[in-house]
């Protein structure tokens, strides 16, 4: 019983971290209509940023500054946001699929860096000894996880609250107008490009924050965490939950991560360990089928888009 509860805490920590990434993607796709097919790239930039800044110094590794976690998390957001800014400049003016291709490309490139720039990332061995916040206070594993869950909940809650305010503000209203109809938004005299870039950078910063929390929670980050499967999982979460709706994104994250974890556990339990590679493949296929089914049957997601009423917004 205790074991189940402890696992549930661990599970919720990860699910909420992915939920945070999902909120970032929801801002980009759900509200601004931007295709980001490189979610994992922004996530992993945040994760390595925290690893480099917060972990203690280690021989033959760059960084190890032992900075406090909150500072490192802010830096993670900034780093991921900066990457988004650079990628966004040439692509956000073009047809939407170019952003998809470019973000896919940046994620592949970052994955290569993760794998090959060993002094920065640790390569396949990854970077270890990444601390959790207040690690000296919460030493016991159960308590440490509980405390981390509280931290994650606070971060996700704040992000959700801030995003809700943003999308209901005049800024969010213009963003949706651009998504629906670029010419109409242009006629309003708004600079569509600037709005998109803002949404793209803020969304990516949230992905970086998610990556940073992940690194701190697991205590480790390596090239295996940079695989495109994560991008796919986040998209499935968003689509299952229904884009354009923050609650839906969080529900999608928890349920899809639940399905993923359960299927992984189930296959490990029934299949001999020689089939580990194939079991991993089956897991991806299963989630892929979930995605296909939702796209075909309920393309607006299980929860659907919320009608958003902007406060204080007036069409000039």
């Amino acid at each position: 019983m205790i074991d189940v509860a402890a696992y549930l805490v661990f599970f919720l920590c990860l699910a909420l971290i992915y939920g945070l990434v999902c909120l970032g993607l929801n801002l980009q796709w759900g509200f601004a209509g931007l295709f980001n097919v490189g979610v994992v790239g922004f996530f992993i930039v945040g994760a390595y940023t925290v690893a480099i800044l917060a972990s203690p110094a280690a021989a033959d590794r760059v960084g190890g500054f032992g900075l406090p976690i909150p500072l490192a998390l802010l830096a993670a957001m900034a780093a991921a946001g900066l990457v988004a800014f650079v990628v966004g400049i040439p692509t956000l003016r073009l047809r939407e699929d170019y952003l998809a291709i470019a973000t896919f490309g940046i994620a592949v490139t970052i994955q290569l860096v993760a794998l090959n720039w060993e002094t920065l990332t640790g390569g396949t061995h990854g970077r270890v000894s990444i601390p959790r916040p207040l690690a000296s206070v919460f030493v016991d594993r159960v308590n440490a996880n509980l405390f981390f869950l509280a931290v994650t909940l606070a971060v996700v809650g704040t992000a959700d609250w801030a995003l809700e305010r943003m999308v209901r503000s005049p800024w969010g209203r213009v963003l949706r107008a651009i998504r629906e109809d670029e010419t109409a938004a242009g006629a309003l005299g708004k600079n569509a490009f600037a709005y998109r870039l803002q949404a793209f950078v803020i969304g990516s910063a949230l992905m970086g924050l998610g990556g940073g929390l992940y690194a701190s929670f697991i205590g480790y980050v390596g090239a295996d965490d940079a695989l495109p499967t994560l991008t796919f999982q986040i998209w499935v979460m968003l689509i299952v939950g229904g884009s354009g709706n923050n609650k839906g994104a969080l529900i999608g994250a928890v349920s899809v991560w639940g399905l993923w974890s359960f299927s992984g556990w189930f296959m490990a339990a029934v299949l001999p360990s020689a089939f580990a590679v194939r079991a991993g493949a089956l897991q991806v296929i299963l989630i892929g089928l979930v995605l296909a089914t939702v796209l075909l049957l309920r393309p607006k997601g299980l929860v659907g888009e919320e009608a958003v009423v902007s406060r204080g917004a007036r069409v000039e």
Binding site: F35, I101, A102, V108, T109, T231, W235, A292, L295
Partner: protein
């Protein structure tokens, strides 16, 4: 000596670029006619390679077929078995594409939600790749274990007979595709649909048939690319997915929608990768495509041969 190394590197790049071109043509056609970035396209390359591997396995396992089809054509490493396997692979990959379209992509297009096709394709790519892992495991496979002796020519350059065959087959396919698009009614219809699907349909063109033709051509060229990669390098379940970025970079570089642009883009990508390997080592090979893509989007997003939008 150094000149020879550079020339060799360019030559190797052209050989790789030829297969990239074949894949990029499919990407650019799908983009032009179905109007979405098909992240699943690389899987036709993977599946094409493995379909051929399956047929080769079946031939090798049967004394009768082996006797019927005979040994390799010297100096190549392959013979009739591979040609039969390639034709079978083209058919199988085309069937795969048509089935996917009928049960999946066509419905996603109908949903008229822009993201559905792109993310749907990204998901399909991961599923298709993992189906190969399920069947064959993740370890590399080879069509033939024999090491080919390279032919030496010019200032110390080397090329294997199989690589010569690869370049020749690619050139033949590109020329055939050119003739198909310019000389046949279906080819003209494809160009018509690319420009204006409504006008095409009121001209009497069955747009659904054109879409099917697009899938078949794209998947067939990809299947050949898969076979050529299996022949000259090795097969892994991830070859298609790993090629995706070079394919998109080639298509965007050449100008999306342009067949000749895709061919040119593929060659440029191949040579750039090869030169980069010389200069900075093989680790960042795949990132070269991103560099090229990023630059072209920055300075000339319509691509080298693309018309200004």
């Amino acid at each position: 000596m150094t000149l020879a190394i550079w020339l060799q590197s360019i030559l190797d790049g052209l050989v790789i670029g030829a297969t990239v071109s074949l894949g990029a043509i499919g990407i650019t056609l799908t983009y032009a006619i179905l109007r979405f970035a098909n992240f699943a396209h690389g899987e036709f390359i993977t599946w094409g390679g493995y379909f051929a591997l399956a047929v080769l396995g079946a031939v090798a396992g049967s004394q009768d077929l082996k006797a019927l089809l005979g040994g390799p054509f010297e100096p190549f490493s392959f013979g009739w078995p591979l040609i039969v396997a390639t034709l079978a692979s083209i058919l199988a990959a085309s069937a795969l594409a048509l089935i996917l379209d009928a049960i999946y992509f066509r419905r996603l297009r109908r949903a008229k939600i822009a993201i559905a096709s792109v993310i749907g394709a990204f998901g399909a790519a991961l599923v298709l790749r993992n189906l190969v892992v399920l069947g064959y495991g993740a370890d590399p496979e080879y069509f033939s274990r024999e090491i080919q002796i390279a032919i030496r020519f010019g200032p110390g350059l080397r090329i294997t007979p199989d690589q010569i065959a690869l370049v020749f087959v690619t050139a033949l396919l590109v020329v055939s595709l050119h003739l198909f698009l310019t000389r046949t009614q279906m080819g003209r219809a494809m160009r018509g649909v690319r420009e204006n699907p409504d006008l095409a349909s009121v001209s009497g063109i069955d747009v659904a048939a054109v879409i099917r033709a697009t899938w078949v051509i794209g998947a067939s060229l990809a299947a050949v690319a898969g076979v050529l990669i299996g022949l000259t390098i090795q097969l892994r379940p991830s070859i298609g997915f790993d090629l995706l970025l070079p394919l998109f970079a080639a298509a965007v570089l050449g100008g999306i929608g342009s067949i000749y642009g895709a061919v040119l883009g593929g060659l440029v990508i191949g040579v750039s990768e090869s030169l980069a390997v010389m200069l900075i080592g093989p680790e960042y090979r795949a990132a070269i495509s991103f560099g090229v893509l990023f630059l072209i989007l920055l300075v000339r997003p319509q691509g080298i041969l693309g018309a200004r939008a």
